[in-house]
């Protein structure tokens, strides 16, 4: 007797990802797809894709998607959710998208307690445009626009989005996870699942920040990139649940 133990989630199309080798966007897509399948909400899910490497998310997710302009995904998701209050609406955003140009939109979506879920991919760099400095770039990190390393005196310190958003009353659940090893992947999946469940229970804004690699723009092999994430990013951006209103 044959039985399938592991299959592609229904929430993913069979289009192969365009992401670079070792990029973790693909892993996070898969986790989201699994979660949506497990919650059985694929037919009522509407994703909002950002501008960034994941701009083509609509080719990979097998449900309705609205592609947003750079940084505006939380506002777009607000419009969608207000029209479809019973749907599961999420944004998927990079750090350039969410922490820089779209900082106001995410803060105010959180402040409104907007019933959406945001998956925030923090790879400490602008991926798609070729490795420029992001608000999340680490101190002394070299990027194409911080070629001598991020200088705090000139451009300030890395923005800790999860910590910042967890101070906002309207935010319901804020967690930071990583997908650098299987155990963290399991935690990431649990956090993402919770963020969707809370939304479906009619609760407010939920955000899961996922520390992620960009081997291409970091100039590393995929293995080196995971190590760099562990030794440099996690100390700056500690993992954990920052806010679980009601469950604290």
């Amino acid at each position: 007797m044959n039985s399938k133990l592991y299959a592609r989630p229904e929430s993913l199309t069979d289009a192969p990802f365009h992401y670079c080798p070792g990029c973790q966007h693909g892993i996070v897509h898969r986790i989201i797809a699994e979660v949506i399948d497990e919650l059985g909400v694929r037919k009522q899910t509407i994703g909002v894709a950002p501008v960034g490497c994941s701009v083509l998310a609509y080719d990979y997710f097998n449900f309705d998607i609205v592609q947003a302009s750079h940084g505006r995904a939380p506002a777009v998701a607000t419009g969608v959710k207000r029209v479809c209050p019973d749907s599961t609406v999420f944004t998927y955003q990079g750090d350039g998208d969410l922490a820089s140009i779209g900082c106001a939109e995410v803060v105010h979506a959180a402040a409104r307690g907007e019933r959406i879920t945001t998956i925030f991919i923090n790879n400490a760099i602008y991926g798609m445009t070729g490795g420029q400095m992001a608000p999340t770039t680490l101190v002394d990190q070299v990027t194409t626009t911080s070629p001598y390393g991020r200088n705090v005196n000139q451009v300030g310190t890395p923005l800790c989005i999860s910590e910042m958003l967890s101070t906002i009353k309207g935010a319901r659940f804020i967690a930071r996870v990583a997908v650098n090893n299987p155990s963290n992947m399991a935690k990431a999946k649990a956090a993402i699942k919770k963020a969707f469940q809370l939304q479906n229970n009619g609760e407010g804004f939920c955000l899961v920040e996922v520390l992620s690699t960009c081997p291409t723009n970091w100039g590393m092999t995929p293995v080196e990139a995971v190590k760099w994430l562990e030794t440099n990013m996690i100390p700056q951006y500690p993992l954990g649940v920052f806010k679980d209103a009601g469950g604290e």
Binding site: I65, V76, G79, A104
Partner: protein
């Protein structure tokens, strides 16, 4: 059911939008359109609609983008500096072919300008305003009644063509009070099988998008848009004319200026001058063909605007420079009197007479 009420222009837009089935409004305060926003804040909850004050004009237009993408009838409103901020979002709405209504109650510019009425956003409204080859349908009312009527038409046209429609008024129209007849119309329910509102019984996901990375695909998309725009040009040109049949001079004006111009034309006619008025109601598509016909039978045009001269370019293009096109404009929130326009009319007509002698 029909009801006549004394209303501000801004409020008439709000009530007309509701009659037209708009249940979602996203905006950000700016004079001189704020009454519209406040009206929606009061009315939307009464009819189980959604009113949301966004954190910025940028957010507001993107909420519109999301709501329109999910298939709703949705509106935002602002005034000049706010419309500049919405430009990116409007371009995205045009690119993704999302029906939505954007109200611009213009004020003086550039920059922070003033809060007085102006018509200096004509280029921005009719030529794009945001990036890329796109067009909005632009309707220009000249009374409170028309603010209501054209708002309803805006929603119809937006859905019909899956295109943003801009209602272009100015501070004077927004603020003035006139009687307005609001007629309840049975709502035509709109099928939007393309909307991203959850798969439901569909098998194929709907995607709202304006990204086409392959140049062939983007060109094809642009050709599709341009074909649609051609169809709109053919079907949706609107204008009003007064006493143009034997006119030696035709004044061309839209919006509030057309009303001042109309008094000037009436004064001139009383003095025995052969003058008419042409008022474009759709600024895009611009009623070029009709103007060309008129160019064949008149001697000259006088364009009057609350700007340094923006619509004058469309009048020149339409009339192919067959006849001289004169201009009279005030800027910065200054309103011309009908006497001022009358003086210009007089000057041109007499000059022409001199030239003929």
């Amino acid at each position: 059911m029909s009801e006549t009420r004394l209303m501000k222009g801004n409020e008439a837009i709000g009530e007309a939008a509701i009659i037209a089935g708009c249940r979602y409004y996203f905006g950000y305060p700016i004079t001189p359109q704020t009454e519209l926003m406040e009206y929606m804040a009061k009315r939307m909850p009464q009819i189980e609609g959604v009113f949301l004050q966004a954190e910025s004009e940028i957010a507001a237009i993107n909420m519109v983008y999301g709501a329109a993408g999910a298939g709703a009838r949705v509106m935002t409103s602002s005034s000049s500096p706010g419309i500049s901020l919405k430009a990116e979002g409007i371009s995205y709405c045009a690119g993704a072919e999302l029906p939505c209504v954007i109200v611009n109650i213009m004020r003086g510019g550039p920059g922070l300008g003033s809060i007085q009425p102006a018509q200096a956003d004509y280029f921005q409204a009719t030529k794009g305003g945001g990036h890329g080859d796109y067009r909005n349908i632009v309707l220009a009312p000249n009374s409170v009644q028309e603010m209501a009527d054209l708002t309803m038409l805006s929603f119809e046209l937006a859905d019909k063509y899956r295109n943003p429609v801009m209602l272009l008024g100015d501070g004077a129209l927004g603020q003035m009070m006139e009687p307005v007849n609001l007629e309840e119309k049975p709502l035509v329910s709109q099928e939007k099988p393309w909307a991203a509102n959850g798969l439901g019984e569909r098998t194929k996901p709907n995607v709202i998008n304006s990204l086409y990375l392959k140049p062939e695909q983007l060109e094809a998309h642009n050709i599709h848009l341009q074909n649609k725009y051609q169809k709109i040009i053919k079907q949706e040109c609107r204008w009003e004319e007064f006493s143009v049949e034997d006119a030696e001079l035709i004044v061309v004006a839209y919006g509030i200026t057309s009303r001042i111009a109309r008094s000037a034309v009436e004064m001139a006619k009383r003095d025995g001058l052969k003058v008419g008025l042409f008022r474009p109601i759709s600024l895009w598509p611009f009623p070029s063909e009709r103007l060309l016909t008129l160019a064949k039978q008149t001697r000259a045009f006088l364009v009057a605007e609350l700007s340094a001269g923006q619509m004058i370019e469309d009048v020149r293009l339409a009339t192919r420079q067959m006849k001289p096109v004169h201009f009279y404009g005030r800027m910065g929130g200054m309103m011309p009197s009908s006497r001022e326009i009358y003086n210009q009319v007089n000057l041109i007509v007499r000059e022409k007479k001199e030239a003929v002698k």
